[in-house]
Structure formats: structure tokens, C-alpha cells
């Protein structure tokens, strides 16, 4: 059966998420990847991606577009990267961002410093046999996660990949760089 994935298309690397999910779903006939800008776009979706971008901007636009409640009540899995990881948490170190409170964890924005401190690193991720080339761009980290949240990867700065029920959140960008192993693990966990 095909899988229907939406990508929150308010701001950020929306096109990269769409391309990555289309590629990850190429062997699943009947699958679709669509943009989500309004609450009604969430209907019938199996999963939603919240892309990287500026969390302050996306947060403001989610409020303006009336998306907080509908996403908080969304029943599918959420694949959140970078700004998405900030938004999906329940505690954020910055009052400028209103979180969705879907994963019980505390997230710190821009935990690495300025853009020149952005980095690529070979990262050990639970569930993967080979390391993942993770691209961190002005990335956040989770500084504290509740015990029911599964930690998939950590670095000296903090936790950078987690799983909670059908949701997965990453401080880095699995949608950049062409390695779709984490997308496949996420899709397998949807039970579609």
C-alpha cells in the first residue's frame, strides 16, 4: 500500500524533504508526497515532515496559519529535522519559539554557535550498522529527554537523534546528502 507524506511548507528546505521522501518511497507504488500549508492539508496523511529552517519564523507562521492544534492532534508519525526538532519538543530554551509539545524533551537552539561552527560528522546512530554522515547547520541539541524517549544518537554537545512512538527528530539534516536510511526506518515504523 502507498504511503502519503506531507511536508510542512511554510519556510525552510521543503523541496529537499519532498525529494528525499519521494526517493525513499520510489519502491512503494501509490505513495504521494505533498506540501502542507493549511490544517485541511493534513487530512489522510500517514506522516508529516517538519523541515529545517528558522524555528522563530516557522513558529510564527504556524500560529498565523492556525496549525498548532491540528499538528499537535495529528495521528501519523512526524519526521522533524533541525528547526523541526525545536518545534516538536515540549521545552525550548527560547521564548521566541512556541513548541508543539509532541516529544517530552528540552531543546537548546543554535547549540553549536555561529554558521562557521556548522559541521559534517560521521555519527553512530542506534539501529544503523554503518555511521551516518550527519550535516549540522546552526543545529539545536536536546539537553534533556524524558525516560520514555529513545535516544538514537548523541555527541559531546548533547542528544541529536530521538524516537518517540511514531515520531523521529534529528538535530541534523537526513534530507541533505542522499543517505535515506533514516527515512526508511521512519517509514517502516509507521505501520502502513
Amino acid at each position: 500500500m502507498g504511503v502519503k507524506v506531507g511536508v510542512l511548507a511554510l519556510q525552510g528546505d521543503v523541496a529537499e524533504h519532498i525529494t528525499a521522501f519521494r526517493e525513499a518511497l520510489a519502491d512503494r507504488p501509490g505513495s504521494m508526497v505533498v506540501s502542507v500549508r493549511h490544517a485541511e492539508d493534513l487530512a489522510d496523511l500517514d506522516a508529516l515532515a517538519i523541515p529545517g529552517g528558522e524555528s522563530t519564523t516557522i513558529s510564527r507562521l504556524m500560529g498565523k496559519n492556525g496549525l498548532y492544534e491540528p499538528i499537535a492532534e495529528f495521528e501519523g508519525g512526524i519526521f522533524a529535522t533541525c528547526a523541526g526538532m525545536v518545534l516538536i519538543a515540549d521545552r525550548v530554551d527560547d521564548p521566541r519559539v512556541r513548541p508543539l509539545s509532541l516529544i517530552p524533551m528540552h531543546v537548546a537552539r543554535n547549540a553549536f554557535g555561529r554558521q562557521v561552527d556548522s559541521r559534517e560528522a560521521m555519527l553512530e546512530v542506534a539501529g544503523l550498522t554503518e555511521p551516518f554522515r550527519a550535516v549540522f547547520i546552526r543545529a539545536p541539541v536536546a539537553t534533556d529527554v524524558d525516560p520514555q524517549v529513545q535516544v538514537l544518537a548523541r555527541i559531546p554537545e548533547g542528544i541529536v537523534a530521538v524516537r518517540h512512538g511514531p515520531h523521529m527528530a534529528f538535530a541534523f539534516h537526513p534530507e541533505l546528502g542522499g543517505d535515506l536510511r533514516l527515512h526508511r526506518i521512519f517509514l517502516a515504523g509507521l505501520g502502513v
Partner: protein, 298 residues
């Protein structure tokens, strides 16, 4: 994590940073207070300047990189990325901006060029660069020098969108005209537009520039911003348009929403209501040749 495998300033990181700005508005600011207003309005980044382009025009003289003190104050004031402008070819200004912790350097024709032959060799930096372009050849030459993002030049500080439209249409049209050409014809085209053949071939394959392409130079209203998005921009830079309007806060918010809903005229109509006067603006045809900024760098 193996620390020895950490890599900084790679092409993927630089272009990835630019991708995170997509669908956003980058606003020119001259102090911490304006930067906070821009962030609050939903800007994805701010451009830290000594003066907005309209005031650079009015002041005359040599326009240089902003005072590092001012840039540092703006960096401290906001959580969104801060960009800074260096003069074309002035790689030491770029080095200073990188050392200050600026997130992206704009090698900008709005400042007085420091080198009339060479642009900065941007591959030597960890910080990503954005550069202006008026046509496909210019855009691809900048990308070949290491630019991670392009912005169409328009004509900064005029509040007149006509040149921004001209440059966006030129780049989009030139990319469309590559479709269906043979490899041999693409190489010939690359020679014509003085751009590397492999980048021309990449544009033909992808149907777009290999990096993010914003619009800049003359955007003054929410309608201008949505116009540029509908013409194919990935996002917009707004310079003088916000803080030269009568109500900067409302104008900033309205432009952010117009970019977000660029194909929804009802929303653009709603956010455009009662904004007060936009910046006065200049007729491009009244500018003297030496007042035209877009011809700086080629």
C-alpha cells in the same frame, strides 16, 4: 562520534545553510533595535549594515563594510542568522566578517567595489557567501567562485522593483532556454555566456540554478515580494523597503506573510491593507550611469 572526521565549511554545509533560508525574508537592519523588530516580524535572517542602500545613495562617497562594533551588537541582539556585506573583491573585509561570527557574507555591489577585475575567492572561506547577479552567466561565474547562494541584483535603494523583475526573468528565461539542447549546444552556450560548461549542464538537467536564488534590489511592498516569488525566487531580500516605510513593523510582518502566501491574492490583499506609505522610490531612468549599482562586478 569520531572527532577527526568532523568537517567544517564544506559545500554541502554552505549550500545547506542557504537552503534553510528558503521561503523567507532577509531584512536590512542598521542597529540592534531594528534587528529585534525584524526577528519578531518573522525574518529568517538580518543583513547588518551601517546604512540601508537608500541612505548609501544619499550619502555618496565610498561605501564600506559596517563598523564591527555595530555588527557585533546586532549579532548579540537576535537568534536568527546575521549576514554582513563586504565590498566586491575585498577579501579582508570578508575575513573580518567571518571572524566576527557573521553567518553569511554578501559580496555586494551596494558597497563601492574594491577590485574591478576579481571577485573574492569564496572557496577559501568556511563562511558561506551570497552574491548578486543579473543574468545566468554572472550567476554561474559567482557559483564557480564558491558562492553558496545567488540573489538577483535589482537596483538597490530605489524602492523600484523593475530591475529585480528584469534580472529574475533573465535568469529564469535563460535556464528555460537550455532545455532540450544537446550537450554540444550546452557547451557552446556556456562559451557564449562565459560560464563553466559543467554548471550550465547542471542547470539544464535540474531546470534551476544549482544553489538557492533569492530576489533583491527594489522590493518595497508585500505585492512586490509576492511578485518576485511568483516569478520563481526562493525568497527575498528587503533593504530600504522596510525601514524607509512609514510603518516598518507592519510592513515587515506583511512582507513575511506575502512571501509565505505568495500565490494567494486574498491573503496578500489582507496583509497589504492600511500599511501607510511605502518608501518613496526612484525612477531607474532618472539615475545617472555612475549612480547605477547593478553594473558593479560582472
Amino acid at each position: 562520534m569520531k572527532l577527526e572526521e568532523l568537517r567544517f565549511g564544506t559545500e554541502l554545509i554552505k549550500r545547506g545553510f542557504a537552503s534553510m533560508q528558503k521561503g523567507g525574508v532577509i531584512m536590512d537592519v542598521v542597529n540592534a533595535e531594528q534587528a529585534e523588530l525584524a526577528e519578531e516580524a518573522g525574518a529568517v535572517a538580518v543583513m547588518a549594515l551601517e546604512r540601508v542602500p537608500a541612505d548609501i545613495r544619499a550619502a555618496g562617497g565610498v561605501a564600506r563594510m559596517a563598523d564591527p562594533q555595530k555588527i557585533a551588537e546586532i549579532i548579540d541582539a537576535v537568534s536568527i542568522p546575521v549576514m554582513g556585506k563586504a565590498r566586491i573583491g575585498h577579501f579582508v573585509e570578508a575575513q573580518i566578517l567571518e571572524a566576527l561570527g557573521v553567518d553569511m557574507v554578501d559580496e555586494s555591489e551596494v558597497l563601492t567595489p574594491a577590485d574591478e577585475q576579481f571577485h573574492i575567492d569564496k572557496t577559501r572561506f568556511s563562511v558561506p557567501f551570497v552574491c548578486g547577479a543579473r543574468n545566468l552567466g554572472e550567476a554561474l561565474r559567482r557559483i564557480n567562485e564558491g558562492a553558496a547562494m545567488i540573489r538577483t541584483k535589482g537596483e538597490a535603494g530605489t524602492g523600484n522593483v523593475v530591475e529585480a523583475v528584469r534580472h529574475m526573468r533573465a535568469i529564469m528565461g535563460e535556464i528555460r532556454s537550455l532545455q532540450g539542447l544537446s550537450n554540444q549546444e550546452l557547451i557552446d552556450r556556456a562559451r557564449d555566456i562565459e560560464a563553466p560548461a559543467e554548471l550550465v549542464i547542471e542547470c539544464a538537467e535540474r531546470g534551476r540554478l544549482p544553489v538557492v536564488n533569492f530576489s533583491a534590489g527594489g522590493i518595497a511592498t508585500p505585492a512586490d515580494a509576492a511578485l518576485m516569488m511568483q516569478l520563481g525566487a526562493d525568497g527575498v531580500f528587503v533593504g530600504s523597503g522596510i525601514f524607509k516605510s512609514t510603518n516598518p513593523e507592519a510592513t515587515a510582518r506583511a512582507i513575511v506573510e506575502a512571501v509565505n502566501h505568495y500565490d494567494d491574492a486574498k491573503v496578500i490583499a489582507e496583509v497589504s491593507r492600511g500599511l501607510g506609505d511605502a518608501m518613496k522610490g526612484l525612477d531607474i531612468h532618472m539615475l545617472r550611469a555612475e549612480e547605477v549599482l547593478q553594473t558593479r562586478g560582472r
